[in-house]
């Protein structure tokens, strides 16, 4: 048997349509573990639909989505939920944290919901928040800064050790300094934790940090300029965050 791990994400010939409209058309996407990619596109281009398909929340009309070697289209709803829990993490634009909980509880909650034992869940949560520089206790979640909140959200997405991390406009609600920090953090994750990262964003400077960049327009996903040439175009240092 080969020791090579399966690709984190493999999308082939993906098509999704609503009556009278094709939202995703023949989408192809490949992402190995330890790699990052960014998808940019204007509003209504189908970015959120693509994320919903990757999460298995909507069923495509055609095509195949494989995450960590498993074709999610063949899974029953129960097994799909379990597979999603075990392989996929997600970071949202507004963090979607619960202000009532402390940062460590917010992170540990995701692990607890996934069935992790109490000690493990809180231990991992504390470790991740330490690594990401967020005060785990003492400061209520509601009092965290925007950047700290988004880093907490990243920690929560990582707590179940996902193979694939999806990020939906993760810097959309942040000021410039925090945006840079969070973008750097996200694109450093493949190197630090070995997962694949797929970021959906409007922001070309954020997208430029990815290993590969795609543009989604009218449901068609096309490779955009290579990272190197794009970095040069937007005056980013070569090699990005990695």
């Amino acid at each position: 048997m080969s020791g090579k791990p399966p690709p984190a994400l493999e999308v082939s010939a993906l098509r999704y349509e609503t009556p009278g409209r094709v939202l995703l058309d023949d989408v192809e996407l490949h992402l190995a573990q330890g790699e990052s990619a960014a998808v940019t596109g204007p509003s209504g281009s189908g970015k959120s639909t693509l994320l919903s398909c990757l999460l298995g929340l909507i069923r495509p009309a055609a095509g195949r989505i494989t995450i960590a070697g498993t074709d999610i289209g063949r899974l029953s709803p129960r097994r799909l939920a379990r597979h999603r829990r075990d392989t996929t993490g997600m970071v949202f634009q507004f963090g979607e944290l619960l202000p009532e909980l402390t940062p460590v509880e917010n992170v540990a909650l995701a692990a607890l919901l996934a069935g992790t034992g109490r000690k493990d869940a809180f231990g991992r949560a504390r470790q991740l928040l330490d690594d990401l520089g967020v005060p785990a206790v003492g400061t209520p979640t509601a009092d965290l800064s925007g950047g700290e909140r988004q880093r907490t959200a990243v920690a929560r997405a990582l707590v179940n050790r996902p193979t694939l991390l999806l990020a939906d406009e993760p810097t959309g609600a942040l000021d410039e300094r925090n945006r840079e920090n969070v973008a750097d953090l996200l694109f450093s994750l493949p190197g630090r934790w070995g997962c694949a990262v797929l970021v959906v964003t409007h922001d070309v400077t954020v997208a430029a940090r990815a290993d590969r960049r795609y543009a989604l327009s009218d449901g068609v996903l096309t490779p955009a300029a290579t990272s190197q040439s794009y970095r040069a175009a937007v005056n980013l240092p070569s090699g990005g965050a990695r």
Binding site: T49, L57, R84, A110
Partner: protein, 773 residues
Amino acid sequence: MSRDRTRPLTRQLLRIGHTAGQGATGGQIRFVALACATLALAVTFAVMAATWATYEEREARGSARSPQLRAMNSATGSPQLLWKGTGDSIGDRQFEVVHIAPLTTNAPLPPGLDHWPAPGEAVLSPALLAEGSGEGIRDRYGRYAGEIGADGLASPGERLAYVRPADGALTKQNAYPVYGFGLPAPWALGDLALVRPLPVFLSLLAVFLLLPAGLLTVVAARLGATGRDRRTALLGALGASRRQVALLSLGEAGRPVLLGTALAVPLAALGLLFDLRLPWTGYLVAAADLRAHAGVLTAGLLAAPVLVAAAVVCFHPPSGQGRSTRPLGGARSRLVKVAAGLCPLFLLILSWFPATAGRSEARTAMTLVLMAGIVGTLATLPAVIALLISAAGRAVAALGRRRGAPGTLLAGRWTVGRPGYLARLVAGVVIAVGLLCVVQVYPSMSSAFVQGAREARAELGFSMLTVEAHSASAERVDQWLRAVPPGTRAVGYTSTLDPVDVGSTDSGSGGSESGSRSTTGTAGATGSSSGDEIRLNAVLRGECPVLATLGLPCPRAEGASLDVPVSSAAPAARRLLSGVGPAGEVTVVRGSPTGGEKGAVMVLVSSDGRDLPLYDLKRTARAQLGPLTAVDPLGQAWIGGAQLVADQLRWVPLLGTMGVVLVALSAALNNLAEIMRFARAIAPLSVLSGSRRVYAAVAAWTLMVPLCVAAVWGVIGGVWITLPFTVPPRNGVLPGATLALVVAVLVALSGVLAAIAARGAVREAERWRPQQD
């Protein structure tokens, strides 16, 4: 032309409204709420219409059977029959026995009778026959001659007897000469004497059903209004007219409102088709009465959807509320704390009241203090409960964290920051249960006479009976007494109430023989007085054996009398003489119970303390001493009166429980929106983690537990605020069974609501999608 264009637009707007309602956040909960509100209103209006119909028909039949004491209309100038109503009891329930005797060959019959019973025959209502079967009711008034027809009964469950005594037993001296039947206004006869007036009953329905149903309607109309308000504002900006906006709202509410109405229709149909016996009260509602006013009933049913639709169109809450998932802060939380701080003050007022009220002369001021204590307690207790639950939230969160239970952790943390939500959630239940306790206990307060009568019944059973045979001669009485079962002894009893000079009441103690005295008229008079106190003077007249049974000394000579302290008599006699008081005296006369005079009032005493054969004695006394003779256990009048009040009050727990359920439903639905917002906040997390159970835990902790705690604390608060009514001298009783029923219903309801909330939250989660596009 324009109409052609309007029609499709109207349909279109209704359809868009319907679709918007289906897609709206919490749409299912609003659907349930609107359906429940329409059902509650429809049932309430139907019940009110049915009440009105029942009163109308009952009074119409009551009027038709009321005796005419004067010649009316074209009636002949001479009386046609003799008529006399008296009372009797089955168990402790009183009912009417009407004695009738024709004076002419074509004397009119009362409604419900198709022929004149023969002398010595009785016609009974079906309910009396059924309920009195164990007490020999069939033969009590003579030979049984059939049942009274429905048109002769005020209501199907009425207990009533028409008796034609033996010829000559009714006379113009002991009965009314009557010209016929039918009066514009009914006599208070039979059930008409037992029911409260229509306005009183409708007020009860208004308080316990209409108000809560109205509250539920307002809550349902406003539920999830944030999204609708935004839509309304948007449509307004796009130039939509008020009518068009209203059509959208109606389209959204149409189906649940129709469903609620449709659910009420079978209930109303049941009432129209069958006589229904109501739970708890046992009242039998006549289907024929409702059919006679089916139009009013239908109008009541149809008014409900119209009102709910109007509420949906008209109620627009202030916009911008409740969009935050952040804990409520500042002012609201402070208000809850201030209210909670005031609660002990009101509790103290209530616990201090009974001791003080007995001494206080300033009754009005004390009543105001009492009211302030009750209202203040009910208003502030929810705040205390909310703070307690909120404080318990910390422990719940700690428990969740210790056990690694995410739902418990979430619910605990969420509860800590929301005392305002909790206060709103529990307030309705606490206030409703508290008020129910007050209305339960207030009318149950009984006088010392009823208390004494109940104690006497418990102690004596049927071993001491009173006999009133006002028209029987002494010979007939003596003859009857000779035939009573062995061990039955009789003593004549006469009592008078006389004013007493407070300064000269001490007439000495101990027995003092003073020759014979009359046992009629003003026996035992203590002389004239200018004082305002009165004293009961009692004279007992009997032979030595019965006086011995009563623990009383027997005067030496026939006809001689003794004044004996009541305190020296046997316990049974002390019960009989309780009105005289333990420090008073009774005059004992040796002789026959009747004293040889007509119109005996006697007491039958069992020589061995065992029960006397009450029902046999009732029957034989009527047969031999005259149809108007009454034989009853000691204190029956007090107990019967109290039973009547108790029967009337059985409506309160029935209606009160329904009201409390509606209030609790309103409170819970009103707060479901809050829970749904929380559910939406955790939706992304639960979708990614594949966990749905967390919603059940959250719903249980945030909805079910507070409602259950509120139900239990509502009862505790209710017991506390009724404290001034349940201690002597008021002696009110708080029925434990009713309170247990209310708590059980609320616990069940809170479980159902938590299940609905959890299901709604799971559906919300299932609909969640990343939406940044």
